[in-house]
Symmetry: C2
Amino acid sequence: MAPATIRIAMPDWLSDAIRNTPACPDDELKMQAVIGLAQRNLERDTGGPFAAGIFDLRTHRMIAAGVNVVVPTHLSCAHAEITALSLAQQQLGNHDLAAIGDFALASSTEPCAMCCGALPWSGIRRLICGATSADACAIGFDEGPRHPDWIAELTRRGITIATEVCRHEARAILQRYVQRGGPIYNGSAGARTP
Amino acid sequence: MAPATIRIAMPDWLSDAIRNTPACPDDELKMQAVIGLAQRNLERDTGGPFAAGIFDLRTHRMIAAGVNVVVPTHLSCAHAEITALSLAQQQLGNHDLAAIGDFALASSTEPCAMCCGALPWSGIRRLICGATSADACAIGFDEGPRHPDWIAELTRRGITIATEVCRHEARAILQRYVQRGGPIYNGSAGARTP
């Protein structure tokens, strides 16, 4: 029988890393903090080369963060943006972060189609991106059927966006992942199409 | 501190309902089984008016199913498609269902932008939809920045698609939900945009 509960465990080191992150008053500091988590996820071999953090825009503190754990958890939806949003929402007890305050999501790489679609439901007010989707595609990931005008679509839903923040450092993590032979976990349905 | 594990619990009644579902050899039978779960989620007041099932295309058995539990779990990503895929993947121990076999996802309503983006990562080979996105929008849901050509985008990634299967019955669940005053849980960031 199917289990009745989905469990998505973050790596053990993550809680301490969040606790030790100082306030990050601007986009670059938020991105550097998130890149540090992606870097650690790579070094510790605890998942994919992606991390995301949720920041309270009043205090600029990182209140929650998630890393990509698709392969270790066997969950194709366990992208960093999804885990970060979910941890923040469970912690604050609300599926709509905008009902509680003003929160930003900083993601070490631009969101794929799934994570882009997740953002309006979540109530975040700002999205800060590091590496681009082209950078993720360059190492083999298929970012999926994302809306061609995704930035305009998010903007008109009340989400402000900054792209290519510390892109060079964020992209370097992707490149190191593929050099180490990290798995490119695209679904393989398409590969078997006649 | 943020909790280290995300937990998404399905309603207690769901495991028995899956166990009692007979083989469903065609799209209509698969959809009727899924509509039955959405109906029960509504009647038991255990979440939103959406359900999804994962079917093995060799045996036509429902191997896993999920319902929408956004409001009770405080998780904006806890849509039926995401919970169904995640339960199937954890059960089978693989993030890529296409690596194991041929599986279909039947969803009582067409996927929103997030769930559409989740499908290629998951390795499902077929998508069966009941109510349309227009039906979901008609009761107030914003299905988000979905790709305008989402059917073509999924098709070229190896996913075959059937839409409007038992649409009338599936739409009736949505209409009953809103008549009962069920929450429309769009993120409210846009509502507060200057």
